[in-house]
Each structure stands twice: as C-alpha cells, then as structure tokens.
Symmetry: C2
Subunit: 346 residues, 2 copies
C-alpha cells in the first residue's frame, strides 16, 4: 500500500536467548520476498558478530549502535533512568523522530512500555495503553480461520476504569481487524457471568457503554470457559486478570507437555501411542506455540509497538517484525481512531 | 472421633441431573462400611420413588419433606423469598436447629450461599464467606500425595478487601489440613508477580498481614503459571478472579477432550494412537474429573456447608457427603478459629 518501504527499529538486546536469535530473525526476513527495512539497535560489535554468522541481504539491514540495555530482571524505570542511551530507548527515539515506523523488542516488558510512554504520544480518546496477546483457541477466527484470539490488557495495567476497558475494546477490535483480516471482530468483556450486571463496577459500566458504541461489534460478557473455546475474537479485561489468565495458559501448555513426556518415559504403550500420535501432537503443540504469532502489540500510542516474547526464537522475531510492518501498512492508529468515532466514549 | 454418628442434611433437589442421582449417592453410601446418617430433604414422593429403585440401608437414610426447590436458573434471593419452605432452606434450618451437623447441596450455588447466610452464624473474625474449589494440579499435595490443590474464593464474593483475603487464607489452610491431612499447607495469594508489592491494593495489604500471621504457612504470591503446576496447596484470590480461573480450567478440560475426540474421528493413526494411550488418557481424565473431589466447601460459617457441582453424578454426591462428615468430625470451625489465633487479623 505505502510506496516507501516500512522501517522497523528492532531492539536487538535483552532477549532471553541473547542477540543472536534476534539478529537471526531479522537476517532471515531480509532474504524473503517481501522484506522489511530493519534498524538493528544495540551493541554494534555484538550485532555485527551475530550478523557475520548469518546469511542476509545488507540492503535491508542497518546497525544503529546503542550503549547498554535493560535486562529481563532489571527494574525498568531505574534501568531506563540510569542508561538513557540504552537499546530500547534509542529504538523508541528513532521511531519518535520518524527515522523508523515501528518499535519491536523482545526485551524487558516494563522497559518497552515505559519507553513508549516516554517517547510516543497517547492516541486521542485513549486513557491507558494496553498490551494485547494472541492465544490459541478451539474455535477459529476471521475469514482466514486463524486458530487464535486476542486478549487485552495482559499487563500494561493492573486495575482499570470502565472508560479504560472501553478503550481496550476499541483498540483490540482495530488490531484484530488488521491482523486477522476480520472486518467485524466479535469483542467481549471477561466477567463472572454473561448478564450485563455481572462483574466489577468497571465491567458493568464498560458493558453499558460498549452497547452504545457502533464502532465495536460487542458480544457482551464472556466467562472463563469461553477463553480456551474462543467464543469471541477479542477478550477485554483489566491487566491484572489478563496477566493471570495468560500465564495460566502458558502453565497449562507446560504441564500437558510434561505429563506426556513423563508418561512416555515410563510406559512402552504410552511411548508407542505417542509415537503414532506424533504428527497430531506436533500440530497441537504448534497451535499452542505463541512464538509463531509474532508478539504482543502495545496499543494506545501513535506509533506501532510490538513486544516479542522474551523467549522468542528467530522465527518469532521475524514474525514480530512482519506483524509490526503490517500494522503500520494498515494504519493501526487510524483504525483505532475510527473505532472511537460515533458517540463519544467518555 | 465423635461417638454419635454424624448427620448430614442433603438437599435432594435442584441438581442438573435430578433427584435420582442425589438419592443414588446417599443410598450407595448407606451400604458402605463407614456410613453417614443422611436426611434426604425435598419432595418426599419423588425421593421415595427414587429410593425404591436403589439398594440402601434404611437405618442411615431418612426423608424430610420440603415444598418446592430453587432451580439452577432461578434468581436465588427471589426464589428463596417466594418459597420459604423449599428444600435448601429446610435443610439449612435442620442444621441450624441442631438436627443435622452439615448441609450438602448440588443445587443453585447462590441459593446455598444465601441459605447459609440466612440460617448460620459467621465465624468470629471472618468478614466474608468464601467458596473453595479443589482442582487438579501437576504437583502432588500433602502426605497422601493428593493430585489437587484448593482455590478460594471461587464465587461467593466479587471484589475483596485485604482483610477478607486474609480470612480466606486462614479458612483455606484449615480446610486443606482437614481434607488432605496436610499439617502445614502452603498458602499463597494469586497475583501478577511474586514480589510483595505486586497486585491490587487488597493483595499488597493481605500479603503484608499474612507475613505476620503464624497460623498460616504463607508462601507469598504465586502467578497464573503456578495454578496448573500446583506450586502451593491453597491459592487465595477474590471471587471474581477465582470464578474466571475455575471456569477456564473447566473449559480447557473440555477443549482437550474435544480435540482428542475430533482428531481420533478423522485419522486412523490418531485412532490407533489414542487406543494405545487409552489407559493413560483415562488416568489424566480422572485427574481432571472434579466430580471425584466431593464438591466445594462454603467456608466462614459455624456450620459445615458443601456445595456439590450441579452436574454431580451419584459418586460425586456420595463424596460430598463424606467430605462434609469429615469436616464435622475434624472440627472445621475450630480449626479456622485456631488459624486466626496469634496476632489479630484486623
């Protein structure tokens, strides 16, 4: 759609697996049919060394040196204040200055959120940013039948007002439209019952407002049962709840994998059974493999921000860059603004 | 321990599967080696008819007629006010009057909670009652290696204060001690991070108070990941969150079952694989089968109340009665009082 190529500022540091996998993801993308211009931001010596071990198209990659980075265990605010020129802050500044169109990082989540808040503008009508995550569901979504739904907020906030939840619904709807080509994504509030009166005051208030908002295809409330089933395309909740739910989904994936491995190691018939099932299990595992989905968008700013999982492999980093480029190309911020149109949200 | 046999008032009405399964559960227990005296409360004609189809020991069963009942879809307060002599209210009155020691019901959850509030006394030092649920975990618990942990509140409350969460921790600890013979059950607050400062104000406040409460073996905060893993024996949270988490666990069990069935119907190798795995799958399924665990205790009153799942089968009803008797025998209310001892909770 846009004539000039999209440029992504990629924080090359701070991933759990180090610089190499991040650089490998960008390198792989540079050799593809529809590459994205990537600024690799971080320790230039380490990025250069990592690049030297990869095959890549130099026309699409550029190293931007930055001094220091925020590690996964660091306290984000303290680290950013102590290392003002660190990789994630430098990448955010490049985007704010118009030298790149989107920020992608597999680093410390808090540092990504704070860097966005420090350097980008919040969209008009949006009170709080939200981190959205895609997660696997039984039901499929959108015209392409994507096997995942979107949930937000999963950690940029703790508790939220009704108005903030309405903003999340609008943003989640816009993002699902872009990412799943889903023109009217079904959006719901996560509550302890489907009735409009169920839940916290914030949920009850948001429910009433969303009923009157034409920009959102509001499905009402959903319950815990509906999360794995995937009854709706976008699940809206406060960050505290989203964090618990998302980590629980990760935990269950790990437990099922552990149980299967453990059982297989003990009993021959299990081993045989799992062998026969292996193709199918791979398929299930792929469905549950967040790494393929390209990271979580931080929604609410005038710039596109994608937080890739700290444990991202090269493929996940590549996907996060592609997702960021798609969000820029399809004008995520504009979509959110249009979703807020109609009756005022406040 | 006690010399006279324990008597349970069993609300025979209002289960999803009708009177028959509830009566069948009581009948089965009456023939066992350590029976419990059960008052079957409800429509005497229907209970009598159901009993006539079962083998049972009449020395242990008695029918108490009650007019009307609260159905699963009814609004609890309205239904109880309209049908003051209904089965669950009558059963609660029998317990309040000392004619039975515990209330068991597979009926409308709200009606069970309200009947308890109407007829029983809240324990000194406990501000709110909580509904606790057992759920399957990867790790085992207590000296018997029980494959389940306890979570509360899962639906008697929506939002809670710090003080109420502390009360839940004490009650959950007492219940785990009784039900799993676990002398020092590990208790934790469910939050969005392990640090004492993480979570809502109520969680941060409860964390600080629990650190100073010797009656509780406080493990700190756990996260969503720890729920399926079973890192602790008792998970404490407000009712809104507990409701979402518990329903999500149920939903995931259903989704996994659906996926396996669906895959098996499509592909021969899957069918073969599942066949070979069937013993193991049965074992996994059993682990995930709440029905075996005998229902959810409603904690915080001077009387023992067990809410069996609405979809309980006869075995689940039998287990709920046994659990109720065990809680009476081991003095649940006294255990909770002892847990509150030490520094005052307020």
């Amino acid at each position: 759609m846009s004539s000039s190529p999209i440029r992504v500022a990629l924080d090359a540091m701070g991933s759990d697996h180090g610089v190499d996998v991040v650089v490998a993801g960008a390198a792989a993308l540079s050799r593809e049919e529809r590459p994205v211009r990537v600024l690799l931001v971080g320790d230039s010596a380490r990025i250069g060394a990592a690049l030297s071990r990869e095959r890549y198209d130099p026309a699409w990659l550029q190293i931007v040196h930055a001094e220091g980075h925020v590690a996964q265990g660091d306290k984000p605010r303290e680290a950013l204040d102590a290392r003002t020129g660190c990789s994630v802050a430098t990448a955010a500044r490049l985007v704010a200055a118009g030298e790149a169109d989107a920020l992608v990082s597999a680093g410390n989540t808090g540092a990504v959120i704070l860097s966005a808040a420090d350097h980008f503008q919040r969209l008009p009508g949006i009170r709080r940013a939200a981190l959205a995550a895609v997660y696997p569901t039984e039901q499929r979504h959108g015209p392409r039948g994507d096997p995942f739904a979107l949930m937000l907020d999963v950690g940029a906030t703790v508790q939220c007002t009704a108005e903030e939840l309405v903003g999340f619904a609008v943003m989640g709807s816009a993002y699902a439209r872009i990412i799943s080509d889903n023109e009217r994504p079904r959006v719901a509030l996560l509550s302890n019952g489907t009735e409009p009166t169920k839940g916290t005051d914030a949920i009850v208030g948001a429910h009433a407002r969303l009923r009157g908002l034409p920009g959102v295809n509001f499905h009402g409330n959903v319950e815990g049962l509906d999360i794995p089933k995937g009854t709706v395309d976008v699940v809206v909740c406060e960050g505290f709840l989203g964090n618990v739910v998302l980590k629980m989904l990760e935990g269950i994936t790990e437990v099922v994998t552990d149980l299967a491995r453990d059982a297989a190691s003990r009993k021959l018939s299990w081993k045989l059974g799992l062998g026969i099932l292996s193709d199918g299990l791979k398929q299930l595992h792929a469905m549950a493999d967040w790494k393929q989905y390209g990271g979580a968008p931080l929604l609410g700013f005038d710039k596109v921000v994608i937080k890739a999982h700290g444990r991202s492999n090269a493929r996940a980093v590549r996907n996060a860059i592609k997702v960021a480029a798609k969000a820029v190309e399809r004008d995520l911020a504009g979509q959110i603004q249009r979703g807020l149109g109609g009756p005022p949200v406040v």
